[in-house]
């Protein structure tokens, strides 16, 4: 009994010991920045991967030069000319001193615009990050990825068809 317990404890220790790096939350590593002027506010937009590719998630940071403490704001995304989404500027969950989007993926390839509406001590102002080029998605075409991912569904349907045929005589 004691041996079993020791063995189990050893296995658990080994598992969690090896898993420790995977338990740590990734820091936000900014590898590229762009400047946006929103009236009196200097905003630095940071990207954790560059260039940005469609569907590939990354961390975005939005940092006013003198901090976010006394400011609020709204981010509106445009895909081409079309408004795609808007949301209040919220602190990045893993970098709380700036606003940001965590592990966010741009859904489509093309030209995007980020519009920042910022309100702070110097009053409300608007600035835009224009011509953000989002490159083609990495990896296999989506059709192939979906085909691979829905094999369980088609397997289940095949099983149902077989079961259906075998139970037919009793159907009313």
């Amino acid at each position: 009994m004691r041996k079993t317990l020791l063995g189990l404890l050893g296995a658990a220790a080994l598992l969690f010991g090896l898993a420790t790096p995977a338990l740590a939350y990734e820091p936000v590593n900014i590898v590229h920045t762009e400047k946006v002027q929103a009236g009196p506010y200097d905003l630095t937009v940071g990207f954790s991967t560059w260039p940005v590719k469609a569907m590939q998630s990354l961390d975005f940071t939005f940092a006013p030069e003198d901090g976010i403490a006394d400011k609020t704001g709204k981010l509106t995304m445009f895909y081409g000319q079309k408004e795609f989404d808007d949301s209040p500027l919220a602190r990045h969950p893993r970098k709380r001193e700036v606003w940001g989007l965590d592990i966010h993926a741009m859904p489509a390839q093309g030209t995007w615009t980020f519009r920042f509406d910022i309100d702070g001590p110097a009053g409300p102002a608007t600035g835009e990050l224009k011509n953000l080029q989002v490159m083609e998605q990495p990896g296999p075409p989506m059709g192939l990825s979906w085909a691979i991912s829905t094999i369980p569904l088609f397997g289940l349907i095949a099983f149902i068809v077989i079961a259906w045929r075998r139970t037919r005589p009793a159907s009313r």
Binding site: Y25, L156, A170
Partner: protein, 363 residues
């Protein structure tokens, strides 16, 4: 001496109940993990491979899978020794890989789902390596994982349906069907990938799976009330998860020293995907049982799809436009609801065939 007069307790656990409970318990672990994980991403955010909600998801498939594997191995051993295999444990045994294994069909399905979960876990890891740790529920590998768990849940329904002439079989089948229905609301999100600007594929999918599983339950059991029992069980799960999901996300965030996101509304993610009108639809399924199934099916599908945006407005506020897309969605949901009802009834009959009861001895 009274003591000697009392017979020693001969009550034993009914045959098949233990492994069936393990499979069902595994699927419920998966369900808890899923609702917790969805809430974690919306309310808190930071993610690793080993978050507690993820561990629930992995543990769910592991428990169901190991229980299924054990039953298959024991059945195989019995078959090799030419011992009689009791079909109350997961249904009739079928040969797998020729006659290498003898697997009760219910456990074969639940175990296959768990094995697929492992395979799709690898596919998901590869995907995250390429696309980053995208916290989207409806990426192709995530849908593959959800489908794998759904297959385990289908297996759980089959395992309990086999024992439908016993009380534990009825209760278990209702619980397993309710878990499958709730889970399917999330899997339906994969339908966002269907390019259909004229209607909402997710609302139609929600209506389809709800109606299908209610009708399946109505026709799988020996008694009336199967659909209502599933509808009520789903409502109970919805109520419990409504409280549990934001609470668990907050407690886990506090425990790991992480703050909640700014502007978090705390609205439960998964529970709010479940149609609140489901009990009403289930009552209609029971009351209208004399009509051809496609009629209550179409009505149920239409009602569910019609109320999806109403529920959203009730919970989130705002408004929704009654436009051509909304109306098209309702019409298509009615059509798919009719189909779902017919399929559900047939699946119910197929589940009855699994049972080793008198009426099915020829099947």
């Amino acid at each position: 001496m009274e003591i000697t007069a009392v017979a020693p307790s001969t009550r034993t656990v009914p045959r098949g109940l233990v492994p069936a409970s393990a499979v069902l318990g595994g699927t419920l672990l998966s369900l808890v993990g899923l609702t917790w994980d969805i809430q974690w991403h919306s309310d808190v955010g930071p993610d690793t491979f080993f978050t507690l909600p993820h561990l629930f998801l992995y543990a769910g498939s592991a428990v169901s899978g190991l229980a299924s594997l054990l039953v298959v191995l024991m059945t195989t051993a019995d078959a090799k020794r030419a011992r009689a295999v009791d079909p109350i444990v997961g249904g009739r045994a079928v040969g797998v890989f020729g006659r290498t294994f003898a697997a009760p069909v219910g456990y074969l399905i639940s175990g296959t789902g768990a094995a697929l979960f492992l395979v799709y876990g690898l596919w998901d890891q590869w995907w995250h390596g390429l696309y980053g740790f995208d916290a989207v529920i409806d990426s192709p590998p995530h849908i593959g994982l959800l489908l794998s768990i759904s297959i385990t849940m289908v297996g759980a329904v089959m395992i309990f349906a086999v024992a439908r002439d016993q009380r534990w079989g009825v209760y278990g089948a209702v619980a397993a069907a309710a878990a499958l229905l709730v889970f399917s609301m999330v899997t339906s999100l994969g339908l966002r990938a269907v390019p259909a600007a004229f209607a909402s594929p997710v609302s139609i999918g929600t209506a389809f799976f709800s109606v299908m599983i209610l009708f399946m339950a109505a026709h799988a059991l020996d008694r009336r009330g199967g659909a209502l029992a599933v509808g009520v069980s789903v409502a109970v799960l919805q109520a419990v998860f409504w409280w549990f999901s934001p609470w668990a996300a907050k407690v886990y965030a506090d425990a790991t020293g992480l703050p909640l996101r700014d502007y978090t509304d705390g609205i439960p993610g998964l529970p709010n995907m479940i149609p609140m009108c489901l009990v009403g639809v289930a009552v209609a399924v029971e009351l209208l049982h004399r009509l051809p199934v496609w009629i209550p099916g179409a009505a149920g599908g239409a009602v569910i799809a019609a109320l999806v945006p109403v529920q959203r407005v009730l919970v989130h506020g705002g408004s929704f436009p009654v436009n051509a897309r909304y109306l098209t969605t309702i019409v298509l949901a009615a059509a798919f609801g009719a189909l779902a009802a017919m399929l559900g009834r047939r699946f119910g009959h197929m589940l009855r065939h699994l049972a080793p009861a008198k009426e099915n001895s020829h099947a």
